[in-house]
């Protein structure tokens, strides 16, 4: 009937702008209502923006890689049955109605129950569609809400860098055999977060060696039985996560973040763990790790790793991390320098466990299992002393593990 301007829709609370990642339509294309037209990235998620109506795409108003504020006109289309063009002013008034997802149509207000459930489950109400009167989001809509399967990049706070992704100038001449791949949205987000961390955080590095002979014995004695009783394996990693979360209780400074010249000490102990796929790195979060047993942590690690594999990680799985523990030992590393998962205060790399000939306390020799723990810390928040105290407590926790340690 007329021209329709589609605007960049709200992508979540506190998200003020989004990057135009990839157009999925071009001028002249016919689209149906709800067909995806654009892939946009806020720093939480990659989202497909749907069309508001049936029609023909007339003009793309923004370019790929543009960073645009929420509400910006992004696309002009002619809706089905249009005859000729319509004065622009009229178009504008028509489109304000349809700029938002149906959920905002009702009153823009949410009931106390809706806000409560959304808060408890960490659900972004702008992504919930309402079935109530005039499209109102009901409590049941929130209870039944299943997040869409969107790749999720990181657990960073909702604050999009206003500058476009930095592309470095090529320093190597291309030769004919070189394969050129455009960095995908996920890769670009990783690049951006890594740069942000390196640019903003003065990072210091330290390493300790821990004797984990007791841990290795315990785990080896349990692993077969454990595998039979559970749907997942008992690896070494949950023991490290447990040791870290216990140590954090006495070293809360490590569980903090620097935000706008304020140091925020987090009450919850939520441990981000790095999970890699072939071409991306995800940092899902084990919530309240200090309240979980070793088995509980193992179950959570297994669940999150599976979600990464099947691309079913939910938004809430990625949020709220307060420190990162990275299992670099899993690919054989014995020493590494992690980059802090912005804006956390520290990242701990758990390296390979290796056998070593050691001089024991009673001056005899013995074969012991040793592991290096490498800590990168935000030197604005932490000094060597605090980091050392923390690491020594982690070490003590790990070295205290023996056959009597209860994993349940």
């Amino acid at each position: 009937m007329s021209e329709l301007i589609i605007k960049m829709p709200p992508l979540g609370e506190s998200v003020t702008e989004a990057t135009v990642s990839q157009w999925m339509v071009k001028p002249g294309d016919h689209v149906k209502k709800y067909d995806p037209i654009l892939e946009a990235i806020s720093d939480k998620v990659v989202t497909e923006i749907p069309s508001n109506d049936d029609g023909v795409i007339e003009e793309l108003l923004v370019n790929e890689n543009d960073v645009v504020p929420i509400g910006t006109d992004i696309l002009k289309m002619t809706t089905e049955g249009a005859v000729g063009s319509v004065p622009v002013a009229k178009v504008e008034t028509r489109t304000t109605e349809s700029q938002n997802s149906p959920s905002f149509k009702a009153t823009g207000r949410f009931s106390p129950a809706v806000l409560k459930v959304a808060g408890e489950r960490n659900i972004d109400l702008s992504s919930v569609s309402g079935t109530g009167k005039d499209g109102r989001i009901t409590r049941k809509d929130v209870l039944n809400y299943q997040p869409k399967e969107t790749p999720i990049i990181s657990s960073q706070p909702a604050q999009l860098a206003s500058e476009p992704v930095i592309r470095s100038t090529p320093v190597l001449e291309l030769n004919n055999n070189d394969a050129v791949t455009k960095a995908g949205p996920v890769r670009k987000m990783i690049a951006q977060n890594m740069l942000k961390s390196i640019h903003e955080i003065p990072q210091a590095w330290t390493m300790i060696e821990v004797d984990v002979t007791g841990l290795v014995k315990l785990r080896n004695s349990l692993k077969n039985e454990f595998k039979e009783q559970n749907e997942f394996k008992l690896s070494y990693f949950p023991f490290f996560v447990k040791a870290v979360s216990s140590a954090l209780r006495n070293n809360p400074k490590l569980n903090s973040s620097w935000q706008n010249d304020e140091i925020i000490q987090h009450k919850d102990i939520n441990i981000s763990i790095a999970v890699a796929t072939d071409d991306a790195l995800f940092v899902p979060v084990i919530k309240h790790a200090d309240r979980l047993s070793i088995t509980g942590i193992a179950a959570e690690v297994s669940r999150l790793a599976n979600c990464v594999k099947t691309n079913t990680l939910k938004g809430s799985d990625n949020e709220g991390g307060t420190i990162t523990v990275n299992n670099t030992g899993s690919f054989g590393s014995i020493e590494s320098m992690g980059i802090i998962n912005y804006p956390q205060a520290a990242i701990l790399q758990v390296e390979s466990i290796r056998k070593e000939l050691s001089v024991l306390d009673d001056d005899t020799f013995g074969i012991r299992n040793k592991v290096n723990l490498c800590l990168t810390l935000d030197h604005r928040i932490l000094d060597g002393l605090a980091a050392g105290k923390f690491l020594n407590e982690v070490k003590a926790n790990l070295e205290a593990i023996d056959q009597n340690t209860n994993i349940y």
Binding site: S111, P112, A113, V114, L115, K116, G132, K133, R136, T138, R139, K140
Partner: protein, 327 residues
């Protein structure tokens, strides 16, 4: 099990309790003799228990209540009947100042273990003096329990509990239900607690709380709408004090609540329920609390057309539930 009407269930409750406890007596206007009450609730009792225990009183409600209070002090589980709830007003002083406060003011030396029964509610073309819901007058007086059964099962079980109560119970019976509802109930001696609301139907779309005739409308509506919505139906049973726990739990399941009473809305029992919900469960509400009630008009009119217009009806209830479910 045998099929009884609401009225027969009440009669059975009194009969069984009078057989069980010789101290139980019943009296009121036209209660005794062969008449057995204007509605017949006490029919046959005088014949079985004699006119020392089942007898007529003068036309004086203050005296009926006062007699019950006195018998209670003497240790009788006395049952007083007010012929219509509209007639209860002359007895207010005896009920509120004496029966209700007996245990409190005597520090437990004397009690008032009595039941005051009275039929209430409209829809029988009774006009001003035979149709009103007067429970709100007493609701809010600590020391006095106000209950009403809304099912045949509860009619017997709750009246037996009320008769056995060691403290005064104002027992409202919906006169329209006397002969309009029937159900199979156990022939055995059973009781129903007076302080617990009853969740009759379980659902997760809308919670509806009602009592009396209105509960029947709610149950019909729940049946009619069952393919579209699942409705939690709560029979309030105790009009004062309100069973907060059950009410709040039922609200929290759905976040949407409809309260139905045929009484005029202002100051009604449902306004009290609404206040409890607003105070305790705000953050569980998904819609404004909705109260469906009679108009704020002085009393039930007599003319059929006006009575129909005054009373909340089946269509009103169904429509309100649907609207709330769709909200």
């Amino acid at each position: 099990m045998s099929e009884k009407s609401y009225l027969e269930a009440l009669n059975l409750a009194i009969t069984e309790e009078m057989r069980r406890d010789e101290g139980v007596m019943i009296f009121g206007e036209d209660v005794g003799g062969v008449k057995g009450g204007v509605f017949g609730v006490t029919k046959g009792l005088a014949e079985e228990f004699g006119d020392q225990r089942v007898f007529n009183s003068p036309l004086g409600e203050s005296e009926i209540a006062g007699l019950a209070v006195g018998l209670g002090v003497m240790g009788h589980h006395a049952i007083a009947e007010f012929q219509f709830a509209d007639y209860i007003l002359p007895a207010v002083n005896q009920i509120m100042s004496e029966a209700t406060k007996m245990r409190y003011k005597s520090a437990g030396d004397w009690i008032s273990p009595i039941v005051m029964r009275t039929p209430y509610g409209g829809g029988v073309r009774g006009g001003f003096y035979h149709s009103q819901s007067t429970e709100k007058i007493f609701a809010g007086q600590p020391g006095l329990r106000i209950v009403t059964p809304s099912t045949v099962y509860d009619a017997k079980g709750m009246l037996k509990s009320a008769i056995r109560s060691e403290d005064p119970v104002l027992f409202y019976e919906h006169k329209k239900l006397y002969r309009s509802i029937k159900d199979d109930i156990p022939d055995v001696d059973y009781t129903v607690p007076l302080d617990k609301a009853n969740v009759i139907e379980h659902g997760d779309d809308v919670t509806v709380i009602a009592y009396g005739m209105m509960l029947q409308f709610v149950l019909n509506a729940a049946e009619e709408l069952k393919d579209d919505f699942s409705i939690e139906v709560v029979d309030l049973r105790s009009l004062y004090p309100i069973d907060k726990d059950t009410v709040l739990e039922a609200i929290r399941k759905t976040g949407k609540v409809l309260l139905v009473t045929e009484d005029a809305k202002e100051g009604s029992v449902m306004n009290n329920v609404s206040a409890i919900i607003a105070e305790e469960a705000l953050f569980d509400l998904d819609a404004p609390i909705k109260i469906l009630a009679g108009p704020d008009s002085p009393s039930m009119p007599y003319a059929k057309s006006l009575e129909d217009a005054f009373l909340v009806n089946q269509a009103d209830v169904t429509k309100s539930i649907r609207e709330l479910a769709e909200f």
